[in-house]
């Protein structure tokens, strides 16, 4: 009973973290699902958001201004990746990795050291883990605003052309859409959202750390995948999908808490998360290959294998017989 209570008591924290990472996952959704780009900048830009917010806040800047600055910093990071990708023709994944590495140095320069604390006692933060119920309310507010803004944006002429860019480059060019600019724009929006989640994460945890973005993309993808699974049968509405992605983040952290509570080594969680993400990413391929073989094809393949084995055996026997014959 006590055990169960302790699990329940950890839930508000899990939900808060889940919402923060849910916002991050919305950013990942914009590049990964809408733009069809796997953008690894996010590992760096989430940390950039945290660093900018932490440094400004500890230097007496209003926390809302600090969050805004964090978003702008994230957008800049996305812009750099976008330029690498579209102007210099570097494959999107590599462009993201290059920016990510650059950001590690930049983040260290911003922070000045590996870790900077934001004490909720001395600074007027928006959310803190000291007051989880308030934090959850505020985070739900953030999530709602982000989803509404994106929902409206993707319903505009520009937003629609961005979706077309992610869907069909040929058609986009033929319809006069500047796909390079759109890709940059998508990366800017995505990394702005990711940096926002970084800024919130720093406040929630009470510190910004140079290593806090490591593997963020996997957590983000996991949330996207869970979210897609959650609402793939409910609705195709874009807003609902984004809400589902946020819910995916929450589910991820609740599962995380349960794993910790069950006594599993939380250090292994990233490994499990990575494996689960790998599995889900593999499903479309597996479906189109191994699982699309017809029963007849499978049966025939089995027969061919058996025949091959028999032929091999026979050849061996024949060889042996020949040897024996030779001796005799």
């Amino acid at each position: 009973m006590d055990m169960l209570l302790s699990l329940l008591r950890s839930m508000p924290g899990a939900i808060s973290l889940g919402l923060i990472w849910g916002i991050m996952a919305i950013g990942v959704y914009v590049t990964y699902k809408v733009l069809d780009i796997a953008d690894l900048t996010v590992d760096g830009s989430i940390c950039t958001g945290a660093c900018v917010c932490a440094i400004l806040a500890t230097n007496g800047v209003n926390i809302w201004v600090a969050v805004l600055a964090a978003i702008v910093a994230g957008m800049l990071a996305g812009f750099i990746t976008g330029i690498f990708h579209t102007v210099f023709g570097i494959p999107a994944i590599l462009a993201g990795i290059i920016t990510q590495l650059m950001l590690w140095s930049i983040n260290l320069k911003i922070l000045g050291k590996a870790n900077v604390g934001i004490s909720a006692r001395t600074i007027k933060v928006i959310i803190t883990q000291l007051k989880t119920s308030n934090a959850i309310m505020a985070l739900i507010g953030f999530v709602t605003v982000v989803i509404i803004l994106l929902y409206l944006f993707f319903g505009t002429e520009l937003g629609c052309s961005l979706r077309a860019t992610g869907c069909n480059l040929n058609m986009s060019h033929a319809q006069g859409i500047n796909t390079k600019v759109n890709k940059i724009l998508g990366l800017v929006i995505s990394n702005g959202i990711v940096a926002l989640s970084g800024a919130l994460l720093a406040q929630y945890q009470g510190s910004a750390d140079i290593n806090m973005g490591r593997g963020a993309i996997v957590t983000g993808l996991a949330a996207v995948i869970i979210g897609e699974a959650l609402c793939s049968h409910i609705s195709i509405n874009f807003g609902v999908r984004l809400a589902g992605v946020t819910a995916g983040g929450v589910v991820y952290y609740i599962v995380y808490q349960i794993i910790v509570w069950a006594g599993l080594d939380p250090e292994l969680l990233k490994m499990f998360a990575a494996l689960v993400v790998a599995l889900f990413l593999a499903i479309p391929y597996l479906k189109s290959t191994y699982f699309s073989y017809t029963p007849q094809f499978k049966a025939e393949r089995k027969m061919r294998k058996i025949q091959a084995r028999l032929a091999k055996k026979e050849a061996q026997l024949a060889k042996k017989a020949a040897k024996k014959g030779g001796k005799a």
Binding site: T156, L158, R163, C167, N168, M171, H173, I177, T179
Partner: protein
């Protein structure tokens, strides 16, 4: 209207795979010309259309559309002047987006895309009327994803999208080749209708000699990156497949070897 001057394009220059796909092409179209293009596999038909569309830049030569030099204009910018339908029905539309969203994207071809709503209610009624004219029952399926439509339906929609904003030049690259004969005939009929009603200038590549003869007011034949025949006016009206084959043999010095063209 359209002027191609000395367009040359070599793929993989300087390698063993070097291929002169376009060899000094010169072509001038008059306003309202509907030109059908035939030629064997690898003759350079698609390459010529792609050069006009700006998929890549020619090695040399110039392209002028209606007095505007578009030779080194990026593909998305010259889209303002061009309507395009591709051979592959998947290429012309955004399959993950709704029918009406695709139409709205096409409606804004050549215009700047702002933060205004992608589709207005008034437009939606317009689209419904346009779709009704296709006579494929699409007017009731505005919010169906493009990917769920058949190849013929998609080509008809792509055709509509290509002509919705009147293009200075319509480029059709074997846009009926992936369709069954009945659907192909329907799409071809729509093509004729759109070109006539919009008084469009068009280039249509086809593998089917009969279609090439039956449509348009001018026919050109390509071989090994060159235009080897250019038939217009009365001569085009009285053309038959036999005459075309004979002319081809004379112009190229070889037999026309293409079953698809003969039987199609």
């Amino acid at each position: 209207m359209l002027e191609l001057k000395n367009i040359t394009k070599t793929f993989n220059a300087g390698t063993v795979n070097e291929k002169i796909a376009l060899n000094n092409i010169n072509l001038t179209l008059e306003e309202g010309d509907f030109v059908t293009i035939i030629g064997g596999n690898g003759a350079g038909k698609s390459t010529m259309l792609n050069a006009i569309a700006g998929v890549w830049l020619p090695d040399h030569g110039s392209i002028v559309v209606d007095g505007v030099d578009i030779t080194d204009m990026p593909e998305y910018k010259r889209a303002k002047f061009l309507g395009r339908v591709f051979q592959d029905p998947r290429m012309g539309t955004a399959t993950d987006m709704w029918l009406e969203e695709n139409l709205a994207l096409a409606k804004r071809r050549g215009k700047s895309r702002t933060l205004r709503w992608a589709i207005t209610r008034k437009e939606r009624d317009e689209y419904r009327d346009m779709l009704k004219e296709l006579d494929l029952g699409l007017e009731h399926r505005l919010t169906t994803k493009m990917g769920l439509f058949s190849g013929g339906q998609r080509q008809a929609v792509t055709l509509l999208m290509a002509t919705m904003q009147k293009p200075k030049l319509l480029l059709l690259d074997e846009h009926t080749a992936a369709l069954d004969p009945k659907t192909a005939a329907k799409v071809l009929e729509l093509t004729d209708k759109f070109i006539k009603e919009g008084n469009l200038t068009a280039l249509m590549v086809t593998h089917n000699m009969k279609d090439a003869i039956a449509h348009g007011n001018r026919l050109i034949m390509m071989n090994q990156g060159r235009i080897i025949l250019d038939i217009k006016g009365e001569e085009k009206k009285n053309l038959t497949v036999e005459m075309l084959l004979e002319q081809f043999a004379k112009a190229s010095g070889t037999e026309f070897m293409n079953d698809r063209a003969l039987l199609g």
